[in-house]
Structures are given as C-alpha cells and as structure tokens.
Symmetry: C2
Subunit: 205 residues, 2 copies
C-alpha cells in the first residue's frame, strides 16, 4: 500500500496544511486546491470535511486565536514578581498589550487569518475563557481590585485597550505604518501603553 485510498485523518491534515499557508501568506493564501495539493489529495476531498472554504478558514482562525492567547499568557507567566500589587497589576496590563502586538507582528499571516472570519460567523462561543479577551478582562479586573482603575471607568475599558493594541498592530501590519523602523515602532508602542495606563489610572500619581 503506497498511499491508501482513505487518508485516515484528512481533516486535521487539511487544517495543518491550511495553517501553514495562513502563516506564510495570510488568509488569502489559504487556497482550497493548494491545501489539497499539499496533503496529496485531490481537490474536492476537503468537501467531505468542510462545507466550503470559509469553514476551513474558520477552523484556522480558531487555532490562530488560541495561539495568540498562548503567546499572551506566556508573557504573563514570565513576568517577575513585582513589589507592590498596584505596580504588578499595571505591569500585567502592559504585558497583555505587548503580547498582543508582538504576536500580531511576529505571526502576521496567522493574526490576519484569525480576524478574517467575523463577517460570516459570529464567534459561536469559541472562547469560553482564556481567549485574548478574557486575559484582558482579567487584567482590568485586577486593576480595579488593586484600586488603580476606578469602577466608574471600568465599563468600556476593555474595548478601549483592545482597540488601541489592535489598531496599532494593523496600522503596522497592513496599514500606512508598515514602513516604520522596528525601533521607532517599539518606542511608539511604549508610548501607547503608557498613554492607556495614564488614561485609565487614578488622577493621583
């Protein structure tokens, strides 16, 4: 048996191949026929496992989201113990943001793919917890608990933070800022995170 007629677990093989395409060329690089080619299977074989291309892309997006979460969590875990609770909480929020942006810039294609499927599907409860959003929420809750973020300013805080890092990533990824040097980019990110920290924090400092 050179290659058996039935692949065994085509589905996950397709997802893996698609993931690689997405990593290298973004969501548009996930071409059904190319995915099939890479797995060594005929075009159309994928239709036994996915209704259409979008459904495959959705699965890939899900994996991408998970990887993003992991990258962010890793940064949190690597954080040294801070002296006081307030500094620690503030630092954690910064790290959440930095993890988001770093992943976006490092895994350009996968990041784009992860956000390419919200037009059709509306996130069918994909992130029960531990998603990027949950990490951000936890960080902000900490900030409240510790007394740095006033409860009156708590609602809308996640959207503000998310928007800031998401926009920063996209402007540098596919936007007009894609040409700025990494050093300048780093400085700008520091400035952005500092601005958010100041904007959320108590007036007293």
């Amino acid at each position: 048996m050179t290659t058996p007629y039935h692949h065994g677990n085509l589905r996950s093989a397709l997802v893996d191949a698609g993931l690689e395409l997405a990593r290298a060329k973004g969501p548009d690089g996930v071409v059904l026929r190319e995915v099939a080619r890479r797995v060594g299977v005929s075009h159309n074989a994928a239709y036994r496992h996915f209704a259409d291309r979008d459904e495959l892309l959705l699965e890939i997006a899900d994996r991408g989201m998970t990887e993003l979460s992991r990258a962010m969590q890793a940064r949190l875990d690597a954080l040294p113990d801070e002296l006081d609770a307030v500094s620690r909480a503030r630092r954690r929020l910064q790290e959440v943001g930095r993890g988001y942006v770093d992943f976006a810039l490092a895994e350009e294609g996968l990041f784009a793919a992860a956000f390419s499927c919200f037009a059709e599907k509306v996130a069918d409860g994909s992130d029960p917890e531990s998603g990027p959003y949950e990490l951000l929420t936890a960080a902000l809750d900490d900030l409240v608990e510790v007394g740095y973020l006033d409860t009156s300013r708590r609602p809308g805080a996640e959207v503000a933070c998310w928007a800031a890092v998401h926009g920063f990533s996209l402007l540098h990824l596919e936007g007009p800022l894609r040409v700025v040097a990494p050093a300048d980019r780093e400085a700008a990110l520091t400035g952005l995170l500092d601005t958010m920290d100041r904007g959320l924090g108590r007036p007293v400092r």
Copy 2:
C-alpha cells in the same frame, strides 16, 4: 452613433464605477470585469488606463482617503466656539477621532478599500497635507500650544491616537465587535476618547 467606439474619458468612468463597487462591497467587490460591465465596455478596456487591478484600487483608495479627510474636516468646521482655548483644543481632538470612526462605520466598504492597498504601494506622497494624518497632527500640535499636552509626551502621540480610533473602527467593522448595539458602541467610543484625553493630558485636573 449609438455608442462611440471611444468612450471619451473611460478612466474616470472606471474609477467612478469602481468607487461605487467599493462603497457597496468593499475592496474585494472591485472586480475588474464587473467594473467594465457597469461602464458598458469590454473587459480589458481598463488595461489601457491601469496596469492592473491594484492600480485601479489604488486610485479608489486615494479617493476614499480624501473623503475621509473631508468628513473629518467637516466635523471640525461644525464645532461651536469654545470658551477657553484648552477646552477647544481638547474638543477638536475628540472630534478628529469621532470623525474618523463615524466615517469608517458609515462608509464601511470605502473605508476598508482606502486601507487595502498599503501592501504594494507605499503611499507615493499621496497626502501632501490635509490628509487624516495631518488633521490629527494639527490637533495634537494645538494641544501642545495650549499647554494641555506636554512636549515630552508629544512624540508618538499621533500613533497612539490613530491606533485607538483605527482599532476601534476595525473591531466594530470586521472584527468581533461587529455585533454590539450602536448605543453601546457610542458609549464605548466616548470612553475611548476620554481615556485618550486623560492619557495625554497634564496630571493636574
């Protein structure tokens, strides 16, 4: 002569048709053959005026940028005179941000198209001035002049502001926040702009 062999000014007709497509269906809706069909000309006719599809899209993006600028400028112009200079400057920055987001949400397709061409072209000096970036820069300069924004925090401020409103727009346009109700969205935007204002402003308030 029913329809003359030579169109007269095909180029601008193509751009107009493409603009309409972009408005209705975003950058992916700008299909060369469909554009030609709408103008009543054969496919391929466009190749006498544009090297390829991307070149047409680039022109469309440029127009979109201009419209964005105009929408923002209009909001600034409509602003009532404020009592003191500081309030006025702060208010202007808010309005710049609100104009950006409002346009993005109102002209979804065109906004997306305007930002869809930075991968190939690197903005060949398209915005000499009066672009969205210039409006933001002017607003921030005012903030410095008026004494609200410290010069030490001035560098990077435009990137921070831009990232915030850009991210906010995209999260609601093609991202996970596309399902939030307009009222909540409005509240979140107010919160975001307030956070940026606090983050940039002097500690004293």
